[in-house]
Every structure is written in structure tokens, then in C-alpha cells.
């Protein structure tokens, strides 16, 4: 009897603890609500007291849109993490916007796992950041609020149009409708070549594929690094022969040229699978030839992007296609930190390449369960690109924590020592990574879609950063955003795996291009591809 009683008590305790666990979120909510009310009151008071410019610009028509008191946003690691003073950043944002902001920030690498779980749970945030693949899928499933009409009549559209960003916004439209708002251009990669290697080989920057191959030949067989040994370097390296996310081909554009492995829109507006085109067959042959000739780093198949960067910094290869803008400076400074010449040539696209690919940018989307989507758009999404105080915060962070104009010496006593005069704008030392500085917050100033008034980057931005970004912006086209269809859901997993497998095997000489396409047909790839293309064209 005693045993039964004990077991009953233990069961009751377990059930109670489970109920307690479930109830804790409610308690949390209560606490949050209390905190929210307090913060909102404070913010409202601050807002009322301040006759800021932001308040002044509020038009009568805007007053009809109710400002939300509290919103919940779900963000990835592109927004400051807790370790990088997220609390201070959000506090400042709340002060400027006059609303309480709850942040859900899963680990960056697991972000889309958590987004999927959150969507499946039905408890959606008001706003979330979504990469293009997920954006198209969730938009087609009705998860996202259609902001087209509100956007068309907004001041944000005027600001973006005036800054020449119309094309970027059009690039994220799905059947003409807009379900998310990018904060920046998508950005893409440009090809960097080490100037010292060119000089050592007596070459100039290539302008066409023939010259490009001649350069790779010299880099792979000669002594471009000047260590006295011929043939101990490679021409080019990349993180895989094909990328894992759209636009897939952007790490080796000189070989792919006009080919792509994904779904693209033709000039007449119809969709095709780039992998099935002759241009892709030719690209695979170019890659296989270059690999066999020893121009491409043999470990490209298993390289991650960090592996590539490390090898580039240690002078193992000379041509690296990587992100335009900020990364031009990062590459330069890391080469110099290794005692190497940091001068890099950002190549304009080769004649055969035509243009680099600007990837479809991630967007800030409002979910369809948001109670006041117009208010969230007006006072959160639109404010993010107001060209003023709020955009400055999203671009550089909080003064004194992420940036400063105070006279100071950073990294004193090290070979990275930097001395800043009073009034000189500069990033503060990174709170998480010692020895580095903040260069931006969420919005990369080089990729902004709206002109930022008094942007310090206009004067303080490094030359190579500015040059590569300008080169990219002048020589890029936006990649296509393929909408999601049931057929894509059903077959694209197998199809992509098969394509990637065939590409790797052809490049490494395990099979010929013809054999690869025969296997593509035999394994059902051609059939799946056609089904997806048909579904895209039927939309």
C-alpha cells in the first residue's frame, strides 16, 4: 500500500512538473507584458517629450495607420547577437520607434530549422527574416502578408526609386506581388586576383576566357608567389564545384559563364532548367578540362568557404571569387596580416561571363497572422530605411558600443594598432572577436537601398571596398527568384542531389559529360526536371 501511495505521489509530482513547465511560458508572458507596459510607457513618454525629426515627418495620412505597441521579430545572426550588445541595440531601436520589440534569435546555423518549427507550431512572430528560397515557399503557402499595395503608396518606394533600387525590389516580387522587403541588395561575388602574382608572371588582368586560362596556367605551373619553386600553387579555388544556395554558380563564374544548374526564366518569360541546356554541358567540359590541367585546387570538392579564405591568405592560390564590398577589405587586411602584399584586382566580368549575379536578397516579411500589418510595415519595415536616424542605427549600431567618433587608439601595442582622432568615425572593437572592429550592423552601407543622410561611409569607406562594390553594382544582374510549386517540393531534393553528384563526377574526370547526361536521364532526373519546369510555367 505504501509503495502504491509513493508511486501515486511521484506520478502526481511528474504531472505537476510538466504542467508547471507548460505554465512557465505564461508566467514569462506575464512578466514580459509587465515589462512591455513599463517600457512602452517609458518609450511613449520619451516620444511625447521629444519632438524628434522622426515624429515631425509623420504625415496626416500616416496617422490613420495605428502604431503597434509591441511586435515580435524573428531574426538570424545578421542582426546583432546578445554577445554583440543586442540588448543595447534593441533598446535604442525601441526608443527611436516608440514600440516594444521582442526578439527571437535562434542560432544562425539552425535559423531555418527553427523557422520551420515555428511555422509548423502556428505561433508565428509578426516579422521574420527569410532567405529567397524560404520566402518564395512561405509566400506561396499564405504565411506572408501581401505588402504590395501598402508599399506602392509608401514613401519608402519613393526613396528606393530615387536611389535606383527599383530593380532589387522587382527582383523579390512573386507574380508581381511583394511579400517581403529587402533591407539591402542581395550582393554577389566578384573575382579577385592577387596583383603581385600577376606582376611576378608578367601578366595583366584577363578580359576574356582565353586570357583567364593563360593566367591560371601561369599561376599553376610557374612561380607566382616567388618562393623559388615552380608548380606549388594553384590558379583558383572555391567552396565546392557548385554552390549550395541560389544562384549556385557564383563561386566559379568564369567557367560557368552563361550556364546555371538551377531554374531560370528565359527572355520570353518561360522557365527552364539550366542544367538541361547545352550551355551547362559546355560549362562542365570547361571545368573538367581546367581541373585535369591542374588549374583548380584539387580539394575544391571538400573545401568550405573558410578553407578557401585560409588558403588564399597563405598564398596557396591566386584567384578567388568572393563577396564584393566589405570582403574586399577583409581579404586585403588578412593577406597583409600574413605579411603578404594585399593588393587585389577586382576583375570586371570576362567577355564570356557578361555580368556577375546579384543574388536575391533576404527579406523582412510580415506574417499573415500579424494583427496590424500596415502598422508594422509603416513603423518598423519602412522606418528601417528612413534615410535617417533609424537607418543609421540599423547600419552602424549604437554609438559608443558599435561605433564611435571619440579620439582613441585601438589594438594598442599590436601590429594592428589604429589611432583615431577626435571626430573621426570608426567601428569599435568587436565585443565577441578580439582584434577586429565592427564594420556594419544589419545593413551593409555599400548595399543600402536608400540613401543614408550623413553616411560616414561616404568618406571613411576603404577604397578597395568601394571599388569592388561599385564594380559589382555596375556589372551585375539580379538572379531569378523561382517560385515554389508542389512538384518542386516533391522532386527538387532528389534532383538537386543528382545534379550536384553528376557535376562533381564530371569535373573530377570520373565520367564524361555525355555519360553524366545519360545517367541524368536514366535516374529520372530529366523527368523530375520537366515536371518542375511544367509546374513553374503553369503558374
Amino acid at each position: 500500500m505504501k509503495k502504491k501511495l509513493v508511486s501515486l505521489l511521484l506520478t502526481a509530482a511528474m504531472v505537476a512538473s510538466l504542467v508547471g513547465c507548460g505554465g512557465s511560458s505564461d508566467s514569462g508572458s506575464s512578466a514580459d507584458t509587465t515589462e512591455t507596459e513599463t517600457t512602452t510607457e517609458t518609450a511613449d513618454t520619451t516620444e511625447a517629450a521629444d519632438t524628434t525629426e522622426a515624429a515631425d515627418t509623420a504625415e496626416t495620412a500616416e496617422a490613420e495607420v495605428e502604431k503597434p505597441e509591441e511586435i515580435t521579430i524573428m531574426v538570424d545572426g545578421t542582426v546583432f547577437t546578445k554577445e554583440n550588445a543586442q540588448d543595447e541595440f534593441i533598446a535604442k531601436l525601441e526608443e527611436l520607434l516608440g514600440m516594444k520589440i521582442n526578439v527571437i534569435q535562434p542560432d544562425h546555423d539552425a535559423y531555418y530549422d527553427v523557422v520551420g518549427q515555428t511555422i509548423a507550431s502556428g505561433d508565428w512572430p509578426d516579422v521574420m527574416i527569410l532567405a529567397s528560397t524560404y520566402y518564395a515557399g512561405y509566400a506561396s503557402e499564405g504565411v506572408l502578408w501581401d505588402m504590395t499595395d501598402v508599399y506602392e503608396s509608401s514613401e519608402l518606394k519613393q526613396r528606393q526609386d530615387a536611389f535606383g533600387s527599383t530593380g532589387v525590389i522587382d527582383g523579390v516580387r512573386i507574380d508581381g506581388r511583394l511579400y517581403g522587403m529587402p533591407a539591402t541588395r542581395g550582393n554577389g561575388c566578384v573575382t579577385y586576383v592577387k596583383q603581385r602574382w600577376l606582376d611576378n608572371c608578367g601578366l595583366t588582368a584577363p578580359t576574356n576566357y582565353e586570357e583567364y586560362l593563360a593566367m591560371l596556367d601561369a599561376f599553376s605551373k610557374g612561380d607566382p608567389d616567388g618562393d623559388g619553386v615552380d608548380g606549388n600553387t594553384y590558379g583558383v579555388s572555391a567552396a565546392g564545384f557548385i554552390g549550395s544556395e541560389a544562384p549556385y554558380i557564383n563561386y566559379l563564374p568564369e567557367f560557368y559563364q552563361d550556364a546555371t544548374s538551377g531554374f531560370v526564366k528565359t527572355d520570353d518569360g518561360s522557365w527552364i532548367d539550366g542544367f538541361t541546356q547545352d550551355s551547362m554541358k559546355a560549362a562542365l567540359q570547361r571545368l573538367a578540362d581546367a581541373y585535369a590541367a591542374g588549374y583548380i585546387d584539387p580539394t575544391t570538392l571538400t573545401n568550405g568557404t573558410k578553407d578557401c579564405r585560409d588558403k588564399f591568405y597563405s598564398d596557396e592560390f591566386g584567384v578567388f571569387t568572393y563577396w564584393a564590398g566589405t570582403w574586399a577589405t577583409n581579404l586585403k587586411t588578412n593577406l597583409e596580416a600574413n605579411g603578404l602584399d594585399g593588393e587585389l584586382v577586382a576583375l570586371p566580368p570576362l567577355a564570356e561571363v557578361g555580368a556577375y549575379l546579384d543574388r536575391v536578397p533576404p527579406v523582412w516579411a510580415i506574417t499573415s497572422t500579424c494583427e496590424n500589418p500596415e502598422g508594422v510595415f509603416k513603423y518598423f519595415i519602412e522606418a528601417m530605411q528612413d534615410g535617417g536616424e533609424v537607418q543609421f542605427l540599423w547600419t552602424y549600431g549604437v554609438e559608443g558600443i558599435h561605433w564611435s567618433t571619440a579620439a582613441e587608439t585601438l589594438f594598442e601595442g599590436t601590429d594592428k594598432e589604429k589611432v583615431y582622432a577626435e571626430g573621426e568615425f570608426h567601428g569599435c572593437e568587436n565585443l565577441e572577436t578580439e582584434g577586429t572592429q565592427y564594420t556594419k550592423a544589419h545593413i551593409d552601407p555599400a548595399l543600402a537601398l536608400v540613401d543614408l543622410a550623413d553616411d560616414p561611409a561616404k568618406t571613411s569607406r576603404a577604397d578597395e571596398n568601394k571599388a569592388s562594390a561599385e564594380l559589382f553594382n555596375a556589372n551585375s544582374v539580379t538572379a531569378d527568384l523561382a517560385p515554389s510549386t508542389d512538384e518542386m517540393t516533391q522532386y527538387n531534393g532528389d534532383l538537386t542531389t543528382l545534379k550536384n553528384q553528376l557535376i562533381a563526377n564530371v569535373v573530377m574526370g570520373e565520367m564524361t559529360v555525355d555519360d553524366a547526361y545519360a545517367k541524368f536521364e536514366a535516374d529520372g532526373g530529366a523527368d523530375w526536371s520537366q515536371k518542375i519546369v511544367d509546374s513553374l510555367n503553369a503558374q
Binding site: 509503495k3 509513493v6 508511486s7 501515486l8 511521484l10 506520478t11 511528474m14 504531472v15 510538466l18 531555418y112 520551420g116 511555422i119 509548423a120 528560397t133 524560404y134 518564395a136 515557399g137 512561405y138 503557402e141 499564405g142 504565411v143 606549388n232 565546392g240 564545384f241 557548385i242 541560389a246 538551377g262 591542374g294 585546387d297 584539387p298 580539394t299 570538392l301 571538400t302 596557396e316 523561382a482 515554389s484 510549386t485 518542386m488 517540393t489 516533391q490 527538387n492 531534393g493 532528389d494 538537386t496 542531389t497 543528382l498 550536384n500 553528384q501 557535376i503 562533381a504 563526377n505 573530377m508 570520373e510 535516374d523 529520372g524
Partner: protein, 290 residues
């Protein structure tokens, strides 16, 4: 004390199993699931990628199980023969350590060691010995021909030490008088190993083998971190197949299909457990594993 365990099992083991119903639906996590009967299973059985992954799972797991168990037994017997206790402890510690490295670290380490370049230690060694030419180094992790063997060796390096723990425990519990008696009877070291040590281990070997055989379908981390596009025909296993279906679709995945693959995997695993249970009862005098 039965009730708390029963409630715990219901809540945490049996209620989540209700998720298997999604295998009979199309479900993307947003809209309500649509019942499609056996459609997901029909699709699964018609996919060459699925069958390739299924075959690879069985081959890699069973081969790995046999080699790991066999190697662990051999190492355990050798360890048991070491007389110097300090040396024995040192060897044991050294061979246990790789078990505590994560698979990600292990993969990075071996990617460097096996790189087909001058920086790859193994290839440099082979070139210096004149076994391979510097222009045709072996891409151990990038070639279908070499991947499986390399995978097994890496697994042996990482797990053999840990696997010896159970065998060493059995050996430690053995009656030393048996060895003394054998010595009096004129048995040498090999004779003692053959007629005393190995028979004493036989039951443990079988138990370990049977217990692990039931888990052969659970293979993800080691295969995932060591595989790449070029070796998927020999390296893609059912759990990585599910992963690619989920994250490679370029769209919101159909969780119904991936649940169907998962359910199939569980059913095969269940059959293996029951088979092993029967096998165990036969060879262990009525003692099953479940």
C-alpha cells in the same frame, strides 16, 4: 513504482510516435496535412536515390559493425597481455581519446591529413615512398573507389578504443587461476589466449554484436560529415537522404515523404531488433535483448 515510468514512457516515447501518421499525408508544416494513402511510399520505392541510400546504409553499417567489433576484440586481447600496468593504462587512455572528439572535428582533421595535395600528410608520405606520383595523388575522401575504406579506417581509429571498454571489463573479471592452471599444463601465451581468453569473451562479443546490429539503421553524423557530392553513390545513407530531401528541395519540404522514409527505416530497424532477439534467445540460453 510502475506508474511514473509508465506515464513518462507514454508522454515522451509513445505520444511522439503519433507523428507517423504524417507518412500517409502530404504535409509542409503550414497547411493541414492532406491524406494521400500510400502515395509517399510508392514514390519512395520508385526513387533510385532511396534504394541507393538503403543499400549503402546496410553495407556501411554492417561492415562497420563487424570491423569495429573484431578490431576491438583483438585490441582488448593485446591490451590484456600487457604486463606493465602503467604502460597499459597509458595505451588505454590514448586509444579512448578519439571517441571524445566530435565527428565534425574528426572530419576536419582527416580532410587535412588525407588531402590530395602537398599539404596532405598521407599523400606526401606515399609520394616520398614512391607509391604514388605527385601528379596523381589519391583523393581518399573524394573518390567513390576509396571512400568506403577510408570511412571504415576513420571509424576504427575513433571508436575502437571505446569499444574495448566492455571487453576489458569481461577480461578483468576472469578467474586468473585458469591461466595458472593452463601454465602448469604447459600452455604458452598463444595457447592461453586461444583456449581461455577468447572463449571467455565469446558471449560478450555476441551480446555486443547483437545489440549493435539492432541499431545499424541509425547512421547519420559520421557519414554526413565525411561525404561530398562526388561520393554520394557509395556514401549517401537513409538519414542523409532524409536530410537532403528536407534541406535540398529548394522549397518547403514535404514532411510526409521524409516521415515515410523515416518510418520505413524504423520498421527495418524493428525487424532487425526482433530477429536479433530471437537469435539472442537461441545462443544465450533463452535470454533475449528485449
Amino acid at each position: 513504482m510502475f506508474l511514473p515510468v509508465f506515464v513518462f514512457a507514454i508522454i515522451f516515447f509513445y505520444m511522439p510516435m503519433l507523428g507517423v501518421r504524417y507518412a500517409f499525408t502530404n504535409y509542409n508544416g503550414i497547411k493541414d496535412p492532406t491524406f494521400v494513402g500510400l502515395e509517399n511510399f510508392q514514390k519512395m520505392f520508385s526513387m533510385p536515390g532511396f534504394w541507393s541510400a538503403f543499400k549503402n546504409t546496410l553495407q556501411i553499417s554492417v561492415t562497420g559493425l563487424i570491423t569495429k567489433t573484431g578490431f576491438a576484440v583483438i585490441v582488448s586481447i593485446f591490451l590484456n597481455e600487457i604486463v606493465n600496468i602503467h604502460f597499459k593504462k597509458a595505451v588505454q587512455t590514448i586509444i579512448y581519446l578519439p571517441h571524445f572528439l566530435s565527428w565534425v572535428v574528426t572530419a576536419s582533421l582527416f580532410s587535412l591529413l588525407l588531402a590530395p595535395t602537398g599539404q596532405g600528410l598521407v599523400n606526401s608520405f606515399l609520394v616520398n615512398l614512391g607509391i604514388v606520383d605527385s601528379g596523381s595523388m589519391i583523393y581518399f575522401l573524394g573518390s567513390s573507389k576509396w571512400w568506403r575504406g577510408t570511412y571504415y579506417i576513420i571509424n576504427l581509429w575513433k571508436e575502437t578504443g571505446w569499444q574495448t571498454v566492455i571487453f576489458m571489463a569481461t577480461l578483468a573479471g576472469m578467474n586468473t587461476e585458469l591461466y595458472e592452471a593452463a601454465s602448469i599444463d604447459g600452455a604458452g601465451r598463444w595457447g592461453k589466449m586461444r583456449y581461455i581468453t577468447f572463449p571467455a569473451l565469446a558471449n560478450t562479443i555476441l551480446t555486443v554484436f547483437i545489440l549493435n546490429l539492432a541499431k545499424v539503421m541509425n547512421l547519420f553524423e559520421s557519414a554526413f560529415v565525411l561525404q561530398n557530392d562526388a561520393v554520394l553513390d557509395v556514401a549517401n545513407v537513409l538519414e542523409t537522404y532524409i536530410y537532403y530531401q528536407t534541406f535540398n528541395s529548394g522549397a518547403i519540404p514535404n514532411y510526409g515523404y521524409t516521415t515515410a522514409v523515416g518510418l520505413f527505416k524504423s520498421l527495418v530497424g524493428c525487424v532487425l531488433v526482433l530477429t536479433c532477439n530471437q537469435w539472442s534467445k537461441k545462443v544465450r540460453e533463452g535470454r533475449g535483448i528485449v
